[in-house]
């Protein structure tokens, strides 16, 4: 028998958290301890999650590498595989293969301030690097998180948002789109780019990490530019459709760049070098 790149690890769903309508988080543990022991990853990487007989789906690893013994993924029930995943219960087995892709260069960011800007279901890819940074908090200056969703209900990781709100070493700003607020909503009301402009975080010695729907990203970049962020100091992730995860199946490329190998993490400077095909 030979090694098979496409062979998934068998994972057991330890815990399911209902994050928002249609959005769940799975805490997954390796069934085979040997797999667990040899498995390592870094913030920003992704994997292929599979349901027996249904297929594979690509999501980031949403838990930080600083927490050992498990991985988490958060997904919205949208297509065939996520529907099947959504039907799984605690104790069910699913497949996982990975980690794939490049990483957030968190070690290079030491000594700087971090500004996280996320929209909707794009907090999961960022949550991994947020917790990674918070678990080594002494290495960074200010940590600011700006997170927005359409409605209050659509905010994910509600417990963690409370946690970050209470922490003195994190500045959290949450916002919902106009009309998405509930009567007791105490956060901001407005689209993410507008709120970033209003809060006007300092760009001095600061790395900005932006993940969200394309339209949010599109309108956030110019705001950051106005605030003085250079293209090298703005990071984002691309989320193209993938099958293999390691540069063979041929569908995630943007020009000569493979999102699965050269990404998913890109600086704005790198993004500007790419053809507009993502």
């Amino acid at each position: 028998m030979m090694d098979n790149l496409y062979m998934p690890y068998l994972m057991k769903i330890e815990r399911i958290t209902h994050e928002a309508p249609g959005v769940k988080t799975f805490m997954l543990k390796f069934v085979n301890e040997a797999d667990q022991e040899k498995f390592t990853y870094k913030a920003g990487q992704f994997g292929e999650y599979s349901v027996y007989g249904v297929g594979e789906s690509t999501f980031c690893i949403a838990s930080p590498p600083t927490r050992k013994g498990y991985i988490e993924c958060t997904f919205r029930q949208t297509g065939k595989v996520t529907n099947a995943l959504s039907g799984c219960e605690e104790g069910s087995m699913i497949g996982f293969r990975g980690p794939y892709g490049n990483v957030f260069p968190i070690d290079e960011w030491k000594g700087k301030s971090l500004l996280f800007i996320a929209g909707g279901i794009a907090l999961p890819p960022m949550r991994c690097v947020i917790w990674n940074a918070l678990d080594m908090r002494e290495n960074f200056k200010d940590v600011t998180i700006i997170y927005g969703a359409r409605t209050v209900k659509d905010l994910v990781y509600k417990e963690e948002l409370k946690d970050w709100e209470l922490r003195k070493d994190v500045k959290l700003i949450t916002t919902v789109d106009p009309g998405g607020e509930s009567p007791d909503w105490k956060g901001e009301i407005g689209f993410v780019p507008t709120i970033v402009e209003k809060i006007a975080p300092s760009s001095e010695d600061t790395i900005a990490i932006v993940c969200g729907p394309p339209v949010m990203i599109k309108y956030t970049f110019p705001v950051l530019d106005k605030l003085g962020f250079t293209d090298d100091n703005i990071y984002t992730t691309l989320e193209n459709r993938m099958k293999c995860g390691f540069g063979k199946c041929g569908r995630c490329n943007v020009g000569k760049v493979y999102v699965c190998k050269d990404g998913p993490v890109f600086t704005l400077a790198q993004l500007k070098e790419l053809p507009d095909e993502y």
């Binding site: 028998m1 030979m2 090694d3 098979n4 790149l5 496409y6 062979m7 998934p8 599979s50 349901v51 027996y52 007989g53 249904v54 297929g55 594979e56 949208t78 297509g79 996520t82 394309p214 989320e239 193209n240 459709r241 099958k243 293999c244 390691f246 540069g247 063979k248 199946c249 041929g250 569908r251 995630c252 490329n253 943007v254 020009g255 000569k256 190998k261 053809p275 095909e277 993502y278």
Partner: protein
């Protein structure tokens, strides 16, 4: 390097076929049926076609089958038979190398490599070409040795063969039937090869494409494209694939199957967003991948000039004409 060159008499080919069979090798060779010539398991020597310019399908499915099981148990090498791929045109033999570079840059794809490790390639030089052939424009030629373990060139119609023993795997075949590989007095094969005029310069095309992404030419060229994907299916170097799972009760399988960048859903996101949302973007991807991205990333071109995509196209898109027009049009 001095290539070992031998003479194989016309009548010896059948003996070679039988000896290979006796050594329990499967022989995949061009077989004709209903006017089409395609590689298949040759049970007898006389079933093998000759006289074809090009097989309808390339030989790539010997290592990259149209549908391949990706058993979670891994691939058992004993389950893969030793195969002699007989009658491969030099463009197809070259294509195997290009395919290998895709499956082996960075991660190594064991499924592909295991299958290929069981294959010995018998190339057969071309004595005939048609208007679709353009191997000489992409660095090849009708007697190119690249990719073959043994390359046979016939000394004219009905003549004997020059056998160039190119690899260790080729030498092993000679070892099985040493009497059939006689000393050769002449090794001049050039005059027996097809004439394939050079139509464009692939290095110039590559340079041109660096600034060609926004060209209107892509729209012009692809207006009639149906997005059927036939070009990818017949291409010796197209490697894009899909992965699908199937379950039948307790028995399940994960398969990979050929896919095409020409299909509209190839890059479609779950959200409905599609990065390559029009056929011209998909046509551009096809050409850019083969003539710009692959040379840059893998140092090989993704086209061997076999001309199959043009022969197969239901709306007569001709890649040769399109490449010439890319070379000629001003940016």
């Amino acid at each position: 390097m001095n290539i070992d060159k031998r003479l194989v008499r016309k009548d010896s080919l059948e003996k070679l076929f039988d000896i290979l069979k006796q050594n329990s090798k499967a022989i995949y060779a061009p077989l004709s049926k209903n006017g089409k010539t395609t590689f298949g398991n040759a049970v007898a020597f006389e079933t093998i076609s000759d006289g074809y310019v090009q097989t309808t399908q390339s030989a790539k499915d010997i290592a990259f089958p149209r549908v391949d099981g990706m058993s979670v148990r891994g691939i058992d090498l004993n389950e893969i038979p030793e195969v002699v791929l007989w009658g491969v045109r030099p463009c197809d033999a070259t294509g195997i190398g290009e395919l290998s570079s895709i499956f082996n840059w960075d991660y190594k794809d064991e499924i592909y490599n295991n299958r290929l490790s069981k294959v010995t390639v018998f190339g057969f030089s071309c004595s005939k070409a048609d208007d679709y052939c353009f191997c000489t424009s992409v660095g090849g030629n009708p007697g190119n040795t690249a990719g073959s373990d043994i390359l046979f060139t016939q000394f004219g119609e009905g003549g004997d063969y020059l056998a160039e023993i190119l690899t260790e795997r080729g030498e092993k075949i000679v070892g099985l039937a040493p009497a059939l590989f006689e000393n050769s007095e002449t090794d001049d094969k050039e005059k027996f090869l097809a004439n394939v005029p050079v139509k464009f310069n692939h290095n110039e095309i590559r340079e041109k494409l660096d600034k060609f992404f926004e060209s209107k030419e892509w729209i012009e060229q692809s207006l009639r494209c149906l997005g059927c994907g036939a070009c990818a299916y017949v291409c010796p170097t197209c490697a894009c694939f899909d992965i699908q799972d199937e379950a039948h009760g307790k028995n399940g399988s994960r398969i990979r199957c050929w896919d095409s960048c020409g299909f509209s859903h190839f890059t479609l996101h779950t959200s409905g967003h599609n990065p390559r949302d029009v056929q011209s973007a998909r046509w551009r991807q096809r050409i850019m991948h083969k003539f710009s991205y692959m040379p840059e990333r893998l140092e090989v071109f993704g086209c061997t000039g076999c001309g199959r995509c043009s022969r197969a196209c239901p709306v007569d898109m001709n890649i040769l004409e399109n490449l010439i027009s890319i070379q000629e049009v001003t940016v």
